[in-house]
Symmetry: C2
Subunit: 149 residues, 2 copies
DNA sequence: GTACAACTTAAAGTACACTTGAAGTCAAGA
DNA sequence: TCTTGACTTCAAGTGTACTTTAAGTTGTAC
């Protein structure tokens, strides 16, 4: 059983066949050999898909995974590519964590807020709620201006 | 200066005029009065936009913000609506934080990894890297099967 | 030989929050 | 009056990672 159909690969990898065709079309996966029109894969493709899965779990986009797998030319090792990309991605992920934690704080303040109308609630001004049982001042950043579009 | 043009409101709120028209079209913003075809806003719209901004920072979608502002009928106070929605949203945000922290761990393991080829690196198998200076075992969850699509 | 499942392609669809473009209207200053 | 900039509507486009659909082909079991 050295050959796998696309359905078999998809089932083992927990993907849909359409995802495998998509990965092939964007260059993440090498084109497998064919008989007539059908694709037949070596079992090693499952390892490649595992690499892709880990990269996705790390937050890389499909385009970035393409660079990870094939970018920078053959002189650069995969490990070096991963490290270069990971070093660039880490601040993004840290920013995501900070944003999500800020969301959580806003939600928790809202849960503890006793204001009846939004307008009387100073959460809106970025200074925490005045009427609720929580009086803890939130993180810095005066309200009013959002990120420039 | 009791009236603001759409450009003026947009500038003060840090948005584009198109965003205000979009908010109006999906019901987040009341339709302002018009002279001829042009929109003229009361300054109070800035407070409404601030509420929308806070809700967005809390992770609510535009549809959810619509419920927040107008949903459940008039018998329910805005505060009660916020609390109902925030209680439902909090687990989502906590899951987002957990996912992002998992991403960060994967990236950091990769940065400390000394493997030359992906295939020799056991990060792929979900057990951390064997060759690198870090020997810390990662979180649970055996590799192989991803979330069902 | 026939039925049926699994495969093939290309194009379009999905979700979200807007933005962009085209073509036209309006207000204000010189 | 003319110009210029800001506005109007409506439709289509953006980015991401795929999925879905349609229409046709192939492999396998009976």
């Amino acid at each position: 059983m050295a050959e796998l159909t696309i359905g078999e690969v998809a089932r083992r990898a927990g993907l849909r066949p359409s995802a495998l065709r998509y990965y092939e079309s964007v260059g993440l996966l090498d084109a497998p050999r064919r008989r007539q029109t059908r694709r037949y894969y070596d079992p090693g493709v499952l390892q490649q898909l595992a690499v892709i899965a880990v990269a996705q779990q790390a937050g890389f986009t499909v385009a970035e995974i393409g660079v990870l797998l094939h970018g920078f030319g053959p002189a650069v090792t995969p490990s070096a590519r991963w490290q270069a990309l990971a070093a660039a991605k880490l601040p993004e992920v840290e920013a995501l964590i900070a944003r999500a934690q800020a969301m959580k704080r806003v939600l928790e303040e809202g849960l503890n807020c006793g204001c009846v109308r939004f307008e009387e609630c100073v959460i809106v001004a970025g200074q925490g709620c005045v009427a609720g049982p929580t009086g803890s001042p939130p993180a810095a950043g005066a309200g009013g201006d959002r990120a420039t579009p």
